[in-house]
Amino acid sequence: MQAIPIITFEAANQLLNALTDYLEKSEASFALVIDRGGSILSQHGDIPAGSDMTILAALAAGSYAATRELATRIGEADFSTLHQEGQKMQLLMSAVDEDVVLVTGFGPQTALGLVRFYAARAVPQVAAIIQDARAAQRPAVPIFTAADVAAAFPR
């Protein structure tokens, strides 16, 4: 298991740029970069009204992990994307690396082929940014100390 990246301003900007570009070209509705634990690393676009990104991410991570596990168990080693089709919305999930997944939501305004094509181009970009973020030096100043935590939990 690799270290989970720290989202610095730089990494956040790069991810946002990559996702903006990807959504523009693919005409998809929203894109999420999540870690396999279900946490959001970056998000862009319009999510369906009334839905909560945090929950979408947790469910997507679970669904992706379960399908991938299923695939492995039937001897399908090279499993990298997962497509789900509903009445109005479709979801495409693409493995970025071992720990990160790109989730794309789109409606009838675009086509699966187009989204797939641009997702395949977005994945290596996102992977490179995540890779850099993992390697990046952590900020020198601690966010908070043990004393700050103690103070936040009064007796």
Partner: protein, 226 residues
């Protein structure tokens, strides 16, 4: 490991409630969801069977205390306790930061408690982790029932690793001990985070914080509905 987002000024932790079938993991989350004010919680999502047994997981996102301008977020998950769902338990455990092990205090559940605790350690080992690295605590649930084992026996059975961890008596259906457990695991996670971050930042390592005298505060005080 926790995810730090410098842009939103957020730190996210993943907490998993683990334990044998029917020990009360889902009941913990349901109680928390019922008590926390709207602004501090998301929806409680349960992937369950028709009979209300957890099939994949329950999920509840919480926004807790703000420390030094950083919002702390805790994502609470439960695993399915039934033995046959081990593959799903392994998936839910991925990238876990801290664990609340819920034991069923009833005498006839002792074997299942021990089995589940061992299963937890096996599953952690499988993902290259262990209880030596992860903050965890024990919650002895269903203390309201008549046929429960005494505390010292549960401690002897489950809290017998090299480092003893905090443990709590609970009755999740009435809420007893639920926030005390949540509060303690949150605090343990934040303390660990502060220590590691300090070390990474090249500061001299501070002496480990004394084991917290756990009181119902922090998360609970900040988020409880009045």
């Amino acid at each position: 490991m926790a995810i730090v987002n410098y842009v939103n000024k957020e730190i996210q932790f993943k907490v998993v409630y683990y334990g044998p079938a029917l020990c009360g993991k889902t009941t913990n989350l349901t109680y928390i969801h019922g008590q926390v004010a709207e602004a501090h919680k998301g929806e409680l999502v349960s992937l369950a069977t028709a009979a209300d047994r957890t099939l994949f997981f329950d999920f509840l996102p919480l926004n807790a205390v703000v420390i030094k301008g950083f919002k702390t977020k805790f994502q609470l998950y439960t695993v399915p306790g039934q033995v046959m769902y081990n593959a799903t338990r392994q998936l839910v455990l991925r990238s876990v930061d801290g664990i609340v092990f819920v034991a069923d205090s009833q005498w006839d559940k002792m074997e299942e408690n021990v089995e589940s605790f061992k299963n937890l350690q096996d599953n952690l080992a499988e993902q290259g982790s262990s209880l030596d690295q992860l903050p965890y605590l024990l919650q002895y649930n269903k203390r309201d029932l008549p046929n429960v084992a005494p505390l010292h026996y549960l401690e002897y059975l489950l809290n017998n690793r090299r480092v003893r961890v905090p443990s709590f008596e609970a009755a999740a259906t009435t809420g007893q001990g639920v926030f005390a457990s949540l509060n303690a695991i949150s605090r343990m996670l934040l303390q660990k985070f502060a220590r590691e971050h300090d070390t990474m930042a090249g500061n001299r390592q501070q002496p480990a914080a004394p084991p917290a005298r756990i009181v119902l505060s922090g998360i609970a005080a900040a988020t409880l509905r009045r």
